[in-house]
Symmetry: D2
Subunit: 138 residues, 4 copies
Amino acid sequence: MLVTSTSFRVRYAETDAMGIVHHSSYIVWFEEGRSHYMRELGFPYSRVERMGYYFTVVEVQARYIVPARYDEEVAVETWISELKSRGLTFSYRVRRVADGTVLTEGYSRHVCITRDGKIARIPKELRQLLLTGTASEG
Amino acid sequence: MLVTSTSFRVRYAETDAMGIVHHSSYIVWFEEGRSHYMRELGFPYSRVERMGYYFTVVEVQARYIVPARYDEEVAVETWISELKSRGLTFSYRVRRVADGTVLTEGYSRHVCITRDGKIARIPKELRQLLLTGTASEG
Amino acid sequence: MLVTSTSFRVRYAETDAMGIVHHSSYIVWFEEGRSHYMRELGFPYSRVERMGYYFTVVEVQARYIVPARYDEEVAVETWISELKSRGLTFSYRVRRVADGTVLTEGYSRHVCITRDGKIARIPKELRQLLLTGTASEG
Amino acid sequence: MLVTSTSFRVRYAETDAMGIVHHSSYIVWFEEGRSHYMRELGFPYSRVERMGYYFTVVEVQARYIVPARYDEEVAVETWISELKSRGLTFSYRVRRVADGTVLTEGYSRHVCITRDGKIARIPKELRQLLLTGTASEG
């Protein structure tokens, strides 16, 4: 199973008056996690959109365990936890790079739609690749 | 049971390249929903913080049903779906004001902590008010 | 000259680890100020876009005088400080509603473009209205 | 003179309904540019704050030349364009990495303050380093 990891520094704008990262920022990081996953898979999401498809978000969930702070390096681990013909679920784990502490875990469920908003099958070529990513190694 | 509603216009900055509101924006709207709830309850969250307490977010979930678009007026309905001695859960429903369509539903779970991050009981005075808000009318 | 004012509460997500509103949030408020201006003028910006035009931002500037904080009510005053055939400049003043204190001042310069990114004249019907808004009363 | 450069991918959340990066996102990128500058200088901004000082933003300006799009790699070049005893100005140039195109230019002016909001001299140790960074090579 493909698990990708992308890391970056916490931006000041991502913090809030509690002095920690605002909980909505992790939702954006999850998205960056799946953008990175698709690039690593060899099928950037920008290419999915150019083909006329979108992975629209139908659900998102996050559990906050330990807060991140400004300037810390964080890593978003991403994998596909469910793949269907018309949609998929990405799962995420955000870690503090310095010591590996798990900060947040979550998932996002997506449905494949066309430009006019109709639910569609994931294009075959892409689905084949996604299957490779989700396959358990035996 | 107290259910509050606050409405505002979708900001352009809240949209994304799909032409609709980005899914992380609703998480911010949920937060504005509970800010409004606390103000309506007569105990603004800013007062909670001045007393040295925080309702830190430990989980958030959102289901996206129909997308919102720039300039639309949306309303966030908020209520307390669970109240414990050391935490509480807010639930949300976002509607398009023009026709009442439900756009998004979700919840956020919170734990009461002090400035140094220790889990604490919700202060008595506030808890009493919150109980009033959560009470079912018989 | 038309000067519009729209007010709203500071959102928690708009604050940062300094405990005050992050400076990028005011740029978003400016935008909400001009959205409101266009609605008050009777020509919502969403209608401009439906006609196939955009007021793309070519410059933005903000001076920060006094910081805003979570839960405060702020008002964005907006007016057109320059109108040309192919563009215009909006100016802004953000005040704390409680005491009228000026928090921030700034402007944004815009060029009228079509969907394919070509610079264009502001459509006549809209330009006429904008002229009314910018006219000094004699 | 020290000019630092940090690069990253455009996030989907940073785009808007025009299909391009929202103009407020560049203000956040500028901030990331100066965070990177301070790290490269050997004096991370998080350390400035731990010493009890802040570089509060008193003015920001950006000129938008060419829009960035989702998934593009962009680089923020940052340098100090003015250094005073109680403040400094950072200047920025954002480029598309693929071809070096300049997308945006701007600056932010800062005043050094203490935790209680009083204007203060930049601490000597830091000022010395900043001087090294701003010195023209002769």
